[in-house]
Amino acid sequence: MEISYKPQEKPPYQNAIDRILGWGRKYSIFMYPFVTACCGMEYMSVASGHYDIDRFGAGLPRFSPRQADVMLVVGTINFKNSVVLRTVWDQMCEPKWCVAFGACASIGGPYNNYATLQGIDRILPVHVYIPGCPPRPEAVLDGLMKLQDMIQNQKHDLFWKKRES
């Protein structure tokens, strides 16, 4: 028997795909740390032994955007740097997520002046915001778990598809 469905319709096995791919992807997060300022210290302490981000499967930072699937924007982004940030984001392959780490990346933090971008969500889609200046490592892990929940519960395509946004 021929199975046929219209592309807009959900294929019958989509729920299983979502669950399986989501489970796989949430425990194999490869981060691209875009570290520009003081929050980087806190990122290092999360990544190293005591708090150990590796427990969540996000232990290996990749320093090439082509190999990463979560971009972690750690620190202040100014207008001059925003071009670089956007380029790095555009270079990452789907599926990709973005985390704004700290007050600066989320809303500009303590800086509101001629040079600072008031939150990276003005130039990129952001999936998780981690508040704090700098955030406690616990807050970072909490944000990471929120991201994992999101990855688990979202729709995943079995084949690559161009995103509209």
Partner: protein, 165 residues
Amino acid sequence: MTPEEIVGRLNEHFPQAGLDNRVDKDHAVTVAPVDRLEELFRELRDDSEFRFDLFMDITAVDWLERAPRFDVVYHLYSTVHNHRLRIKVMVSENKPVPSASGVWVVADPMEREVWDMYGIKFSGHPNLTRLLLYEEFKGHPLRKDYPYDKRQPILEETWPSRDQG
């Protein structure tokens, strides 16, 4: 030399140069006219008693309402004799200051920064372009009449921005 000795020697050395030498809070200060600056710099570096071989900093002050609008402030240090001198020059908006980069090479990037932030021109500078800000930037942000809330983003801010709603 103590600050008093520096001031005394400056008075001896440049009797008719129009310098206003004084000791201010245990620091030798001289207010110099713009046209004698080049000669003064060479003398301060090469004279065996002064030997100001380290050009520490150059910055500027914007006195918006005063007649020569800016103060350009130089800080010199001698690694040989362990003494310091501050030179102030009053300039108006359009008058260029002779560049110190022929005397001390490190003055080159510092003068570019002053040009970037205050828009003070340095005549004889090999490459007077912006140092910290981007080329598209209009105006000079540390001037007192630069609007404090003026933003000049490079990328178009497409994401719904916090300021609009």
